[in-house]
């Protein structure tokens, strides 16, 4: 701050606090609704203090699901979301880091061509090739499988760029020293490059975990079996249409469960999250 302006400081905090409240309000309403009985939720206006149905609602959705919409328990859905998020995050990092390694540390014919091929995938989001991708996955027999949920989303231009940028800043002397000591390419990769990339990997992991966990369109298309639903899809399936028909208290409990893991990842790994967000857009 350049000068003292007490009234401006007060205004600053007022704006920030109202911003925080505005951002938090939907979450608070969700939490309150998830602790009420259905009758209490449907009462207009809904009460704004948490009720006593916390355990009842959460154990109900985790173990049995809603009774009116899809009656699938949410616990396996959370597991599916976790598998999807982890496989996508780890898979993306793994295949991107080795291809960036090849592109930066080797000279081979078609190197530039491969790099551009990866680059072009930026311009082909799932949303523009919905049906043909669905057909490919169905022809490969991967509908309702973890492979079908994750493999098509695992190629990543941004992660490859990030690692390429990072490798370009690694001093050449390290490679020369490693070669002098007789290290081959993979030895150099595992013993030198991988440890150096630890922060980049952590940052990417946070971003990609959230990306994988929050996928919606793709699982919506290729899962028809309730046992393969992810948590986000499960919420959608619980809403039967019509304000009064849906069991909102259970929907809201599921929403809390589905948004808690990625929110915790963001908050607990805040440093890497901010780094990852800024780095992947460079």
């Amino acid at each position: 701050m350049v000068e003292r302006r007490p009234w401006l400081s007060v205004l600053t905090h007022l704006v920030l606090i109202s911003g925080v409240l505005l951002v938090a309000f939907p979450l608070y309403i969700t939490f309150v609704a998830s602790t009420l009985t259905l009758e209490q939720v449907l009462q207009v206006p809904m009460r704004l203090l948490p009720g006593d149905q916390f355990w009842a609602n959460y154990t109900q959705v985790l173990g049995a699901g809603s009774t009116r919409g899809s009656a699938a328990p949410v616990a396996p859905m959370l597991f599916n979301s976790l598998v999807m998020a982890l496989v996508i995050a780890v898979g993306k990092i793994a295949i991107s880091i080795i291809s960036a390694f090849a592109i930066v540390y080797f000279r081979f014919p078609l190197r530039k061509f491969f790099f551009w091929m990866v680059f072009v995938t930026l311009m082909l989001p799932v949303e523009v090739r919905i049906i043909p991708t669905f057909k490919v996955v169905s022809d490969l027999g991967m509908l309702d499988t973890y492979a079908g949920l994750t493999l098509p989303l695992i190629a990543s231009a941004t992660a490859t760029f990030l690692f390429r940028q990072f490798f370009l800043t690694v001093p050449d002397e390290l490679l020369e020293a490693a070669r002098m000591d007789g290290a081959g390419p993979m030895r150099f990769f595992f013993d030198v490059l991988l440890p150096l990339s630890a922060t980049s990997i952590a940052a990417l992991f946070v971003i990609q975990f959230i990306y994988g966990w929050n996928q919606y369109l793709w699982p919506l298309l290729i899962t028809s079996d309730e046992s393969m639903y992810t948590a986000v899809i499960g919420i959608k399936r619980m809403i039967v249409g019509g304000d009064a028909l849906t069991e909102w208290n259970l929907v809201m409990a599921t929403a809390m469960l589905a948004l808690l893991p990625p929110a915790l990842v963001v908050l607990l790994m805040q440093r890497w999250f901010v780094k990852g967000l800024v780095d992947t857009e460079k």
Binding site: L124, I131, P132, R179, N214, D243, W248
Partner: protein, 293 residues
């Protein structure tokens, strides 16, 4: 930029890029090529036979008032999401940049909506504004406003815009904050010594210096509004009422998956691809310029 020293191997680099390439070819290029090819085919009513139809699908699309409406809806929606999200985030970032004590606390409390899936954001906002039981709907009734996004087009649009802005605000906030913190304090101090008040300093110094960040975020937000808000819309209005919130991506999904119109949906995909290419090029042109800035 290239490495001065490198490894030599006839097979290892190919092996290393193989997984990435296999996935790219099988799940990106092959389906994208098919989408382009289907765009020129026409299927009979039972989906049994298809024949080459040239540009017929595109001609039909451009003559279809629903499609043109969807274009218009997407334009309005993305402008509202981008401008609304940027304005709010900029305000909060400028304020957070002023704060010395508690800055990290505010940041923590403002960034978590990034972790919320768009579909869940849609469910939360749709519930708060639910026509008969929503808590905000009830409050608005006190002001004489009857909020019913199930029936009113404008209100449906407002709802999906609010949910989408809410989800994206943390992202914009973090980038604005980083941009603000990289502006040299000496410039601001010099202006203060010259007698410029905070408001004046913001518009004449801070805002122009922030323009690379703003432009970058504008492109990112438009891409977000075009593609990532699918979940928000599917969880709330599902494109309704009567197409008032049917953005282009939602129409591709509706026509292709629900109505099974392969040719028409693919032609729409092809047009979307062109839009993505333009946006991506805009984004990268800008990144190059930012380096020289």
């Amino acid at each position: 930029m290239e490495k001065r020293v490198f490894f030599r191997s006839a097979w290892l680099p190919y092996l290393l890029v193989a997984p990435q390439l296999a996935i790219t070819v099988i799940f990106f290029f092959w389906p994208a090529a098919q989408a382009l090819w289907f765009a020129f085919l026409r299927q009979d009513a039972f989906g049994m036979r298809s024949e080459f139809a040239g540009l017929d699908n595109f001609r039909d699309l451009l003559a279809d008032s629903n499609y043109l409406q969807s274009f218009q809806v997407t334009a309005v929606f993305s402008v509202l999401v981008a401008v609304g999200g940027l304005a709010l985030a900029l305000l909060l970032a400028v304020m957070a940049d002023r704060v010395i004590k508690g800055a990290l606390g505010y940041r923590t409390l403002l960034i978590w909506p990034y972790a919320v899936a768009p579909a869940i954001a849609g469910v939360l906002w749709g519930f708060m504004f639910a026509p008969s039981i929503g808590i905000v709907t009830y409050a608005l009734k006190g002001f004489g406003i009857h909020f019913n996004w199930v029936l009113q087009s404008d209100q449906a649009m407002l709802l999906v815009v609010m949910a989408s802005v809410w989800k994206q605000i943390s992202y914009n906030f973090l980038f604005f904050l980083a941009g603000l913190q990289s502006i040299p304090k000496s410039l601001i101090e010099a202006a203060a010594i010259d007698g410029a008040r905070p408001f004046r300093r913001f518009w004449t110094i801070v805002f122009p210096l922030l323009s690379p960040t703003t432009f970058f975020l504008l492109v990112v937000n438009i891409v977000y509004a075009f593609f990532d808000t699918f979940g928000v819309i599917d969880a709330t209005t599902q494109g309704g009422p009567s197409g008032a919130t049917q953005i282009l991506v939602y129409k591709v999904y509706n026509d292709g998956v629900k109505a099974a119109d392969l040719g028409g949906s693919s032609a729409q995909s092809a047009i979307l691809m062109v839009i993505v290419i333009v946006l991506t090029v805009a984004q990268f042109r800008f990144v190059e310029r930012r380096v020289n800035y």
